[in-house]
Amino acid sequence: MPAATFSRCFSGRYITAGIFTLLLLASCSKAPATNAVNFDSPYPPESGGTLIDAMTGEPSGLIAMLAGESAASAIAANIFNSLLKYDKNLELQGELAQSWDVSADQQTITFHLKPGMKWADDTPLTSADVLFTWRLVTDDKTRTPYSADYKLVVRAETPDALTFRVSYRQPYAPALDTWASLHILPQHLLQGQDINTTAFARRPVGSHYYKLQDWRNGERISLVRNPYATQGPARINRLVSRFIPDNAAQFLELLADNIDVMNLDPIKYARIFPARPDLNKKIALYKELGNNYTYLGFNLKHKPFDDIRVRQAINYAIDKQELIDGVLLGLGVPVASPYKPGTRWSNPNLHPYPYDPQKALALLKQAGFEDHDGDGILDRDGKPLAFEMVTNQNKQREMSAVLIQRRLKEIGIDSKIRILEWASFVGRYIKTGDFDVVVLGWSLSLDPDQYGIWHSSQQAPGQFNFIGYSNPHVDKLLEQGRLELNPEKRMKIYHEFAQILLKDSPVVYLYAGYGLPAIHKRVKGIDNPAPPAGIGHNSYEWYIPQPLRRNEISVQ
């Protein structure tokens, strides 16, 4: 073959490759090697630096009352203040309010705001802003799903610029918690605007430690320190949240020192990190219990789950410790009530059903289920004990379902697993009530009120008592719990509530998993071990010593 042909063929390709290589080499500015640095050395606190974390999703907007997803609330929480907040031990504390009084009839709360507060644009922050925000969240035209609690306020007034008073028709115990979750918005910027379409959602002005510096759509959000922060200055100058949808990519970025924070799963935490001393030199692992639990829920309107013996039997048949060991690699705790273990609301005298397959079989026998036809599956009146477990695409829930399926099979219950993406799952099964068993989780607020999940009046399609639980005594307790402001008395109400729930077993509590953040050791000032509020409670006090900061010019 003629040589001339070859050279013609290859030239084009080589030129392209050449250009690529040249550009690559030209722009390869390498960050200084971080291997030689000792990240464990102590350093005194100082100001400055950039903290980079990763999120799988992007916020739809930064007005929390409109945008409910976790990405939005996580970032908005750095920008806006509420009247109250929770301290490290999960006790209520003032944020914009320096104090508050509850009237003798327990129907009126008066908040006294701190003087001299400002918005990030140097405008005074007063009670007028609080009133404006309340009017906004209760306005029917505002497309917020969270108005119900605030609509219970029958009168809201501002006697002066530093006082905000709300009155309820009757005592409402969760009230203070609701005022710890409402981000106060600036009246002077939002007056006269349509909150549903305002550009403010993407260019917010708040009053908290950080203000928005830059939002590159689809790529990242950068927050920079707010010099007018009502709570004082934060130490770290800049927070960058990169949107990285894939967990594998996030982990690679963590390994390459391109992000500082990542939430790990149990395998990374318990198997990968312990085996890699090079990683432990620069990354520290933390463990914190969140306010959530995973459960298996029965559809109480479907036979045979209306029979308490069947529900209790399945509860005995599931080995919860195995779930914690297998799914969470031990990084979780068993739960016996719908509350975070270790908090006042969690009843310490309750214990989860032990793993007892014999007891399960005995209960099922009482309910009429035995293996009459010898096929290995229990049956009653000729119908086998078989059902479908539905769950969404969550790795831990999938694995839990697989383990549960095996244990149930051992005592003769035939179960199938169906996994769906979320919107279909809710639309097709939850809302219609057309399911047998679900494996789901609840992520709860810090107030113990769980009216929406367990009260018998909340069973309409789209409401959250979709399992169909109805117990008049529990209804009473839930109603009482909303009226009782005294913490001790309230605690007793919810302890009793949890006790009944455990006996009725409308759900099987599976576990509460730990949150497992991994944070680069350059970030100092972290409270370890984590207090009840989690390690993030004092994130404004974290700092990055100058010698440990990454070279911000060539950072990727």
Partner: protein, 277 residues
Amino acid sequence: MKKVLANPLALAGFAIIAAILLLALFAPLIAPFDPNAIDVKAILLSPSPQHLMGTDGLGRDVFSRMLFGARISLLVGIVAVGIATAIGVVLGAVSGYYRGWVDVAIMRLVDVMLSIPTFFLILAVIAFLTPSIWNIMIVIGLTSWMGVTRLVRAEFLSLRGREFVMASQTLGATDGRLIFRHLLPNSLTPIIVSSVLGVASAVLVESGLSFLGLGVQAPQASWGNILTDGKEYIQFAWWLSLFPGLAILITVLGYNLLGEGLRDALDPRSSNATSKK
């Protein structure tokens, strides 16, 4: 057949496919463990004499899961392509032979199908029908017949102009005879080649669907979902990625080699085949 086997590409491809088919067929006999046998104490063990390919996140033996996964991946590929080919051949033949408004209608249908992104259709159908293996196969089949249709139609169009067709028509052959005795057999090569290549493609699509969480669901094993399960631990639990990745690679390679080899061997216009002239 001799032509096929003489072609080294086809031979290599055929050998690979045969090996994998055999492994899949005899999976229950070869697999040392039940692919769904969970062992919470044996989570993420590296390959050892006991677990040739290590264990996964629930302690299940990866080698056994790979063998049973072979069945799933191959089944998905073959059935999906079967559906696509059946639809494609019928539509393409009718379109290419009768032409006229039938042709126009079918080609517009092809246009419509091509403009709706495959993934979207797959998601909608799977979301509505629930993600089972059969639904995945049907959906992949229903969204990949367009290429076969165009191929068959193109063949028919070009063959139609050939002398032997006109000769048969002059001799009074019916439409059916023409289609089945003359046109289809001569179009067979591109159909076979495209089917073989289609299986390769379907195996890759299944692994892509698993990545998005829409493939074969737990607890059933498929190469796609084993690979996806291991994607976050590539450096650590490398066996969860390497083996299914290699398996997919080799299988798809095998089908491609076979397909291309067949094309080389059987296509009368290629220099390898004996000329039909």
